[in-house]
Amino acid sequence: MSPAALVAEDVTREYALDGVTVPALRGVSFTVEAGDYVAIIGPSGSGKSTLMHLLGGLDRPTSGRLLIGGRDVAGLGPQELARLRNETIGFVFQSFHLLARTSAVENVALPLVYRGTRAAERRRRARAVLERVGLGHRLDHRPNQLSGGEQQRVAIARALVTDPQVLLADEPTGNLDTRNGQAVLALLEALNREQGVALVIVTHDNEVAARAARRIVMRDGEIVS
């Protein structure tokens, strides 16, 4: 059995705002196993975004232990964290975050640039992943030439191109209509099922959360169920 994709043990995160310490997470513990499908749900201000940033290696906890892909993030500098994100995590954002004026295939290949992959190999892999998400006919289109659903699929392809252990999706359907939202969710679930990539969806939508194998409900920086 492969090690857990994500392990959080009594993780806290505090922010200093104008000299006042504000706790965003107050001791969170849970595990995301390899191939797991977890929804993190809670109202805004519950700390779920903070948690997602921590799980994605974009931030480090104030205290507690956090393992990403089996590696403890404590003591990792910006360089090592960047590498950890590149190798272990695939991000999908609510607002897609595609580079404008850049073709779909180049957007998807971007993480490989920072891995040092050669240009031809980058393009080959990006094309393969785009075909996997059903956009083989849109390789050289730019984001503004694609629909919202297509843009999110490009973003999913970008998250997948590095063969990550975990897909972290932050409100992936938030900017999409119901039909496109359903299609994107179905795609993420298919990837989870067929490729064994752990899927963590952060959402405030109960319908979306209900589809996950496991739900983590957050309130005021704590897991309530």
Binding site: H53, L58, P78, R101, R158
Partner: protein
């Protein structure tokens, strides 16, 4: 590979904001062009003056009364023709000694007249200084010995009095006294705005009678070779000091003149380059400013790149390259503009301009350095952005 991506992104970013990139570059273009043009003018002027001083003839020693000091008033000459004989004895060859007594006088021929420098000289002048005749003959020793009223005209004087007609054999008057023209010099051109062709050579004996004086303004000696110049100068000064107790004499060589002129022009060129450098600095500040704007505009992009694995230095490099690209492109354009402007100045104005490799290299190097120096702060700022904050930015 990451470097290639950084280049691609940098070029893309400049293309995305064409007008802004152009305007930012303009500061660098103007700065670099100014450096190139001003250094070219400084260098060209220096080269031209050096050519002219060297063109006087080699191994020259010019002896004048008083001290040669910039800023001190010229002293009244106490030399006369007997001193010239004494110097000639030291030198041992009359053909190596030239003398002059100079005065500004009106020269006329028929209805035409002009104001020219009258140089009273001896017949050796063309051997000591390099002077060539366009027409006729130069003064002879017997002209000098017998105070003949004969004259050799500079090109401008001949042109002013006789236009295109042959001046040789014509009668002119100098300060109302009649002279016969026996020769015309080849044209020399201008030096530091002074027309070197606006002169008339007459026998020194004739000139002294005309001016009512027996003074000699200066003695020039052509040394047989370079090694003897200093020794010869010392011996001449010793002899003249013995003959004129209480009067100082100076002997200057071409090297000394060139050295002094070179120093002055070098400083002048440096000052011009420094002034131009300031505009380059201002251009650099503009680059820095626009790069900070660019970082702010692309905060979200930086956040995304970091999320997918860009290290701080990948982001920093990307923005640094963008700044360097701006200034080096500006540097190239500025060099082209500077070269073009220098050629135009040299062709259309009397100001000489010589483009030098070192000024081009310097201007280009400085523009690239400006990109690095003024790009570092925005690049560091971009590299250190917190990805969480950057991703949240709208």
């Amino acid at each position: 590979m990451r470097l290639a991506e950084a280049w691609r992104v940098a070029i893309d970013a400049l293309r995305a904001n064409r007008l802004r990139s152009m305007l930012t570059m303009l500061g660098v273009i103007i700065g670099v062009a100014a450096v190139v043009v001003l250094v070219a003018i400084g260098t060209g002027t220096k080269q031209k003056i050096e050519q002219q001083v060297e063109g006087l003839g080699s191994n020259l020693l010019i002896v004048v009364p008083g001290q040669v000091n910039i800023g001190s008033a010229p002293s009244v000459s106490r030399l006369d023709l007997s001193d010239v004989d004494a110097v000639t004895k030291i030198v041992g060859d009359r053909n190596r000694v030239a003398v002059t007594v100079a005065s500004g006088e009106t020269v006329a021929a028929g209805a035409a007249d002009t104001f020219a420098t009258i140089n009273g000289v001896i017949e050796t002048t063309p051997q000591v200084f390099v002077r060539h005749l366009a027409r006729g003959t130069y003064l002879s020793r017997s002209d000098v010995d017998t105070q003949r009223r004969v004259a050799v005209l500079g090109w401008s004087v001949a042109h002013a009095l006789f236009a295109d007609r042959d001046a040789v054999g014509q009668q002119i008057t100098i300060a109302g006294v009649r002279f016969r023209v026996i020769g015309v010099f080849e044209q020399l051109g201008q030096s530091l705005g002074i027309d070197r062709d606006n002169e008339v050579h007459v026998p020194i004996t004739t000139a002294q009678r005309l001016l009512g004086t027996n003074r000699v303004d200066g003695i020039a000696v052509k040394a047989p070779n370079r090694d003897e110049i200093d020794d010869l100068g010392a011996r001449i000064i010793a002899e003249l000091s013995r003959r004129h107790p209480g009067t100082e004499f100076s002997a200057v060589t071409q090297e000394q003149i060139l050295g002094v002129l070179g120093d002055i022009l070098g400083v002048l060129t440096g000052v011009l380059a420094a002034i131009a450098g300031i505009s380059l600095l201002v251009g650099g500040v503009g680059v820095s400013n626009i790069m900070l704007v660019s970082v702010r505009e692309r905060t979200k992009e930086i956040g995304l790149r970091k999320a997918v694995g860009a290290r701080p230095r990948d982001i920093g490099l990307q923005f640094l390259l963008e700044a360097v690209l701006l200034t080096t492109l500006g540097g190239f354009a500025g060099m082209a503009l500077g070269i073009a402007a220098s050629l135009i100045v040299a062709a259309l104005s009397p100001v000489p301009a010589a483009i030098t490799w070192w000024s081009l290299t310097l201007a280009f190097g400085v523009s690239a350095a400006v990109g690095i120096v003024f790009g570092v702060v925005p690049a560091q700022r971009a590299g250190r952005l917190d990805p969480v904050v950057a991703l949240r930015t709208e």
